[in-house]
């Protein structure tokens, strides 16, 4: 296996190396997140035209859709890291998987709440049990289950592996959420943004949306790097490299 993994990636798996790497990148990620976020918000709230049918209410889309996308994307990352953690027992993969869960849960929660606030003026109801909303709610419970299971173990690494297993069982829900609007009759509208081919959304609305999707990705990395660094300090607290950082011998 070591033959096809480049050396720098292998080195990155070592906790002190990743700690330094993440520490260097994190401020940049945060800065980019805030910058692209601000641009996206300006585009979405100020320059984008009002919708023909929905007026100004549709502007919730600029936070609802990126959050929904992130709720699925982060679960995918968590699943991939979980796979690495279970198959190769890589400590860093365990930490990335476990620390992604709360961020994913946060985005899922935001998706559900902003969706509800959008649904009330548009559909006349705060909630409906259609396929997409129900499966997104199930996604939230899956995240919470992973977090709960992880904390139920005395041994953190064993807990991470058990929770990783649960995460992989639940990964079937991710395609269900995504394709639910195609497979079933839902109240939720279908996709207007396509990866390949033209999207049916107005360009003035498209670019703030895409920019915000980018901003949330940068934010995820910023938050993840911070969490993983702290977790690595905790897991490796007996080791020399942590001692040096705690006593201030090496800069933070």
């Amino acid at each position: 296996m070591s033959k096809w993994i480049p050396l720098w990636l292998h080195k990155l798996g070592s906790p002190p190396t990743f700690y330094r790497f993440a520490g260097a990148l994190r401020p940049w990620m945060l800065a980019l997140a805030l910058l692209t976020g601000a641009i996206a918000l300006y585009g979405g709230l100020v320059t984008a035209p009002a919708d023909y049918q929905q007026g100004d209410a549709y502007r919730i889309i600029f936070i609802h859709v990126p959050s929904a996308w992130m709720s699925l994307f982060i679960y995918g990352v968590m699943g991939f890291a979980a796979f690495l953690a279970l198959v190769w027992r890589i400590k860093l993969a365990e930490v990335v998987a476990m620390e992604s869960a709360p961020i994913g849960a946060a985005f899922t929660f935001i998706t559900l709440v902003t969706g509800s606030l959008w649904g009330k003026p548009m559909w006349g109801t705060w909630w409906t049990w259609d396929a997409r909303l129900t499966s997104e709610l199930v996604l939230l419970f899956l995240y919470l289950g992973v977090i709960g299971l992880y904390h139920a173990f005395e041994d953190r690494r064993q807990g991470a592996r058990a929770a990783a297993f649960l995460a992989l069982i639940g990964i079937i829900n991710v395609p269900i959420v995504h394709f639910s609007v195609n497979w079933w009759n839902t109240l939720h509208q279908g996709s207007t943004i396509r990866l390949l081919g033209p999207s049916t959304i107005a360009p003035g609305m498209l670019w703030p949306l895409l920019t915000m999707m980018l901003a949330t990705k940068f934010y995820y990395l910023a938050s993840l790097f911070g969490r993983v660094r702290t977790d690595l300090l905790d897991l490796e607290s007996g080791k020399d490299w942590v001692r040096k950082i705690a006593t201030g011998e090496t800069p933070q």
Binding site: D56, I60, V113, T247
Partner: protein, 70 residues
Amino acid sequence: MNAGTLQHFFAMGGYAGYLWPAYAVFFIVLLADFVAPALRRRRLMHELRSRLARKAARQPRPAPTPTEPA
């Protein structure tokens, strides 16, 4: 930008009651997500430092040899 257009901006075509709480949730939840690990890190460093300090305080005393009378 005068007070009229600013007011128009905040009114959001009458949907302000839905739109602004939605944006507020977005910011508050992400802020909480960002701050909580920072607090944990601070607590952890504090614990680590005190643990190391305790260990260092124990080192200078020479260990008593086993054959010393009680």
